[in-house]
Amino acid sequence: MKKTWIIIKREYLTRVRKKTFIISTLLFPLLYILLIFGMGYIAKESVQNLKVAIIDSSGYFTAEKLAFQNSIDKSSTLLLVKEEAQKVIADHQAEGYDGYIIIPAMNWQTGTDSLFFKANKSYGSSSTTLVESKLNRIWNEIKNDSLQIDGEKQKILAGSHLGLSSKNIKDERANVKIAEGIGYVSGLLIYFILLIYGSQVMMGVMEEKTNRIAEVLVSSVKPFQMMLGKILGIGLVALTQFFLWIAFVLIVYNIGKATGGTDGITGQVVGNMQNLFSSVDVPLILFCFGFYFLAGFFFYSSLYGAIGSAVNEDMREAQSLSFPITMLVILSIAMMSAAIANPTSPLAVWASIIPFSSPIVMMARIPFGVPNTVPWWQLGLSMALLILGFVFTVWFAGKIYRTGILMYGKKPTWKEMLRWAFRKN
């Protein structure tokens, strides 16, 4: 046990002191924020500001109406074309338009579904939808005028509507939006940790094998201790990184609260966080996160470690052998989306109980509420099975590791590795 502890210490310290650890710990939250804002920004920027010629035969679309809408909504420019219509149809680009729309003669009571934005290029629906909604606003105006609905009535028509959202009557605090958010974030975090730190275990084992230090070490400690030390050491690194992130969030939160900003982004963040703390059982979620994170890590990293011990320095060998395991993790994330969309469906329930997918799927379900969405028996069974699962994979991996770490030469197949695991002594 003492030797395992020495190994854990080395694995932990060498990794935590590396520059890459410090950089990745700092950069990950920044990248995460950038990703969220960046995607919004890119989505906004990718919409083109179209200049559209309107060739109107219905007589409803007047230059004033278009000009008025252009002044409120600057996402596109609609211009009425009369005399140059033939020229625009012949070559709209030469006339300075991105495309044109021919509006046929029609009745204001029926409208039409067959308008086309005609252009030399294809445009995405995100650009044309903006033009479409602008045209519809003008069309509403035209209808209102024809029906003689004045401004007062228009306000009533636009403003009054019925809204519907779901409410959990057993758990007053439950907020589906927040539960979905927490479910996604914790499921994805576990997913990243399993893949990133799992492959770190694999690389670490491969390094020891190709360096041939494995042979020196196994003459001092048992192979099982070596493997356990590595898994625990790297698991502690992941835990450290995770705590640093939580600390980071709490510091930002408290600074935001202390500076008392109620407006702007900080105010918004603080408000959201208060909302979050009040709508979910934070200690339970943190406890479960810690559990599923560690147990899932043991479950998968021991398998990755076994693969690292079986292959030589060739990364491709490692990738092809670890593919089935990586697939299990990716399958879990696919099931997570389904579980968040419908947290009580049979798929969600079983995927959150079966060990290989439970770390990710159960973590996505828990924010919806325990014991209403996730009954205690499901949580208990899921945890118990996951513990059994990782005890089995660690044992299984230890058997493969013991043989693999000193074998050089051909890459073994999964079948051979199974034979190593189940033979006596």
Partner: protein
Amino acid sequence: MPILELQNLKKYFATQKAVDDISLNVEKGQIFGLLGPNGAGKTTLIRMITGIFYPDEGNIIFDGKKFDPINDVAYIGYMPEERGLYKKMKIGEQAMYLAQLKGLSHKEAMEKIKKWFIRFEMETWWNKKVEDLSKGMGQKLQFVTTVLHEPKLIILDEPFSGLDPVNSNLIKDEIFHLAQAGSTIIFSTHRMEQVEEICDHIVLVNKGKKILDGTVKQVKQDFKENLFSIGTDQTTISADANAPFEIVGAKDHSYVVRIKSGNSPNDVLRHLLQQNISIHSFNEILPSLNDIFIKLVEGTPTARQFQKVTA
């Protein structure tokens, strides 16, 4: 009392009898040569002694008791042929780590590392990484980490490969030192001139079996072919049918003769003196270990063949 006693050890792999019924004794304070061609089963044998493999059959008695890998490895130092160190780890920390894994406390380990680093002039290396070292420097570090915890039994697999003559001598002196101080050394190599120089006792294994066991002196006696070299100023020595020897080689004024069975070296001298031949030198030619090695191993295929093992 032997420090290590192997009794009928067997280790079969799926396609090879790697170690097939080997017994041997290693006495305390001995420098013991474990020899054999590539793939003879030396590494498997060593791995059983270091507790890495369990034998399929047979017993290992270490220091008078049945070998207990978990506790006894603390008294064994093993330097494998393939060097193994963490490339990115600082040298001082690496030595400390390996020493602690052998069960030394931080304080003990620090004292010993300092002593050895000073002796090997490695003090300035502490904060360097292994990847900064040359192959020979890495070798020295590996040697230090092997003997640091003052093991009773030290197993060195090709300890001189990659070392220049100066550093080879340094390590060689340390090996003698350690043996004098009471450590037992098992020394595995293909380089027979080193074995002759260093070892007291040798065992030769081939194809998983022990084919030779004895002191270097004894082995040489056993394999001598009654050859003598004679230096003379005579241009010719003739050996007729009555002579107690036959000539097997001649070069300038020296001859190599084989004494016929039933005769002694004195018979040869008497015969030569009767012929009035003046003799400058008369030496027995003992076979070199290299010759013995080649003679014993020759004829067996150079590479071991894979076979189906039914054990």
